[in-house]
Amino acid sequence: MRTSHLAVGIGFFLLLAAAPLAAGSYFLGIGFQLLMWIALTQSWVLLSGLTGYVSLGHAVFYGIGGYVTVLTWQALPLPAAVVLGGVVAALFALSIGYPVLRVRGPYFVILTFGLAELVKYTVINIEAALGKFGRLMLGAPGLPALYWSMLGLAAAASLMVLLVGRSRFGAGLRAIREDEPAAETAGVPAARYKLTAFALSALVPGMVGGLAALRSGYFEPQQIFSPTISFTVVAMAMIGGSDTVRGAAMGAAFLVLLSELLWANLPELYMILLGLMLIGFVLFAPAGLDGLLRRSMPR
């Protein structure tokens, strides 16, 4: 990424940072959604885009973060609770990572999906045993504060992908994606690198889940651990394309805007269009919007 691109990225986030001063709560709500999906998609790219280990279970980290925040509600100061959610999600990734990252390809996809569902139903059962059927969080902070926090997370996740992509660590991850045995033979400590990437890619989603729970003011495991979140992240990364910061941001922005435009009037059309687009991108533009943009702007 050249300096001009970096400037565009910084400008983008500065513009969004100023939004609460001008925008009404409807647009701020959309902005919150947009930033949330950018943060989640970037985090996913850090693992799946760079290593090729496609996770279909990132909702689990988001859900864990939300759950931590609701469990510590009124026991911990909110910023601490949200950060703790991220840390717990990352620790969870570390603890399951070693066995999970031993399998590749479709097995990894199915395993991450299955694990996320397992955690979801475990939480549902715990909540049921405690006699809780959804929890309310009354007195959560207002939208502008949550918006700015989410902006911080989106920027942090983007910066993380950017820095990792340029580092020695990132080079090792790309080597793993291309050919793991050959990468190891060249000296890349594959097991440790994969585990680190897995934990890093869980950290921000954990915090995002906390903010999202605060935003809705309500916690319900079916909703916050929903596999739809995992699917949406994958769809955004695929449509945005490749393993770049810009691609993930474009994919998230594109789908958030599309869903806002269609959701109100033609919700059925949104899902149909999404399906068609996914097929189209996979077949004709596997490098996504980012790839199309690069092709149309030759250097």
């Binding site: 090792g172 080597a175 990468a183 190891e184 033979t185 060249a186 000296g187």
Partner: protein, 241 residues
């Protein structure tokens, strides 16, 4: 000085013994050839030395330290690099990035501060400097074999294992490859163990040749002696009637 010691090493795959009590020693600075028909165990031996597989028996020492229980990335850090018989470039990365990865990782000693500059230097040595910007997957076979060597060289190894780097090359390319291997050996002060089906190349390059047959070592010595050894002739051509 003794660089590598392979001590009564065996490898079984289920009931099949791919290697049986193979012992060999390599001195620093040598160029040793490993010869044998298909299935003789050459690549298996390479895999054991590079820690891609664990031996079922015996031990391997490199620079006096035991290495056969290490992971592949650990043995790479100790200073052993290899190429693959069936090339394994990082296809969707550029040629330069492939070599840069070797430079950024590889051996613990002499890691360059500027991986890109180092990669360019190494690419020039194998004649790929013009192709640095293209994807590795779009190189010709000969180019990919050179890239394998460049990536291994960028790892700054002290022992380099070359697995059939000349298979499938034209006679002209073979001649170039021979000259290149000599050049890089001198320049990087390498010790080389190589497997080659192009026998003439092996005879020209190596000071010493080790012959494997059905997983056992059957002969060892200078090329001219090995070529006349009755056991080798029998293994390759069958028993004279």
């Amino acid at each position: 000085m003794r660089l590598l010691t392979v001590e009564r090493v065996g490898k079984r795959f289920g009931g099949v013994a791919a290697l049986n009590e193979v012992s060999l020693e390599i001195e620093t600075g040598e160029m040793v050839g490993l010869m044998g028909a298909n299935g003789a165990g050459k690549t298996t031996l390479f895999n054991l030395i590079a820690c891609s597989e664990r031996p079922s028996a015996g031990a391997i020492h490199f620079e006096g330290r035991r290495v056969d229980l290490l992971r592949p990335d650990q043995v790479a850090r100790r200073g052993i690099a290899r190429t693959f018989q069936i090339v394994r470039p990082f296809r969707n990365l550029t040629v330069g990035e492939n070599v840069r990865i070797g430079a950024l990782f590889g051996s613990d000693t002499g890691r360059p501060d500027d991986g890109d500059a180092f990669a360019r230097e190494v690419l020039a040595e194998v004649g790929l400097e013009q192709q640095a910007g293209i994807f590795a997957g779009s190189l010709t076979l000969s180019g990919q074999k050179r890239l394998e060597i460049a990536r291994a060289l960028a790892q700054r190894p002290r022992l380099l294992l070359l697995d059939e780097v000349m298979a499938g090359l034209t006679p002209k390319e073979v001649a170039d490859a021979i000259a290149m291997i000599r050049r890089i050996k001198t320049k990087h002060r390498l010790t080389i163990l190589l497997v080659e089906h192009v026998l003439s190349a092996m005879m020209t390059l190596c000071e010493r040749i080790i012959v494997l047959h059905h997983g056992r070592k059957i002969a060892e010595g200078p090329p001219e002696t090995v070529a006349r050894d009755p056991r080798v002739l029998e293994a390759y051509l069958g028993r004279p009637s």
